[in-house]
Symmetry: C2
Subunit: 151 residues, 2 copies
């Protein structure tokens, strides 16, 4: 596993409201299908429904007693260059004690991803997304989604 964070996804109650907040402090991004994407240097900060994020990660969005730690509404993503690399990283994490909360599987966007929780419950998505380019040093560049920038 390379030392790389590709995306930070913040689960929020209301994406429009959260997007307006980040715009108000000066950020600019793109909203696509109810999700806000902000390029931040070589990674992306993403605002997404907290419930959707929990479901995607395979963890309960509920009480602190239901998992290794309460779902904090945050997931880090480690993007890789192939389907095989997703499997390899998930297996490597499992072998050293991580809890695989979602086994790698095809995603709705044509990629492939799984999630593990580290020993303290921090969630990592390991993903191959053909639409999100990784350059030679692993920097992620969001595509132009073709959507209007948020108002």
């Amino acid at each position: 596993m390379e030392q790389r964070v590709s995306l930070i996804t913040l689960g929020v109650d209301d994406v429009d409201r959260a997007t307006a907040f980040y715009e108000a402090i000066g950020w600019r991004g793109q909203v696509v299908e109810g999700t806000a994407f902000f390029q931040a240097g070589p990674l992306a900060v993403v605002l997404w429904s907290r419930a959707s994020l929990a479901e995607d990660a395979g963890v309960p969005d509920g009480s602190p007693s239901t998992g290794p730690a309460p779902f904090g509404g945050v997931a880090l993503a480690h993007n890789v260059r192939s389907f095989d690399e997703v499997d390899a990283v998930i297996e490597a994490a499992r072998q050293v004690g991580a809890t695989v909360t979602k086994e790698p599987a095809p995603t709705f966007y044509g990629g492939y991803a799984g999630y593990f929780a580290d020993l303290d419950g921090h969630l990592w998505e390991v993903a191959h997304n053909p639409g999100f380019a990784l350059d030679v040093v692993g920097a992620l560049t969001l595509p132009d989604f073709g959507a209007a920038p948020p108002e």
Copy 2:
């Protein structure tokens, strides 16, 4: 506020145990005074005591009912180039509805920092740390702490 994430701090129960996990999946960093620092491209991933992180951020490390959202054990840091810029970013966030959980104040490492929680409770530290260089594009490079790398 520039679109930059400088550090991702993961609060953990046992820094040694957590460090061993990240080493086991291939990461390499430095452990300094009970805190593990991993350079990840232009930012740093930090493992720190969850209780210390909560205390530093001025939030309760307790039940979900005590804050705008349960403390998820994660804080993002936005590092800036001056003390004044810390104040300016914290004020800008406050003006648009953020909860300032810790007013800017001098830090033990000779810097200056405050924290705000966004509308969903996600914590951002806004910090000026003279020891953590920001280059012209805002990339953060950890110093050589002079410590042995973790075993």
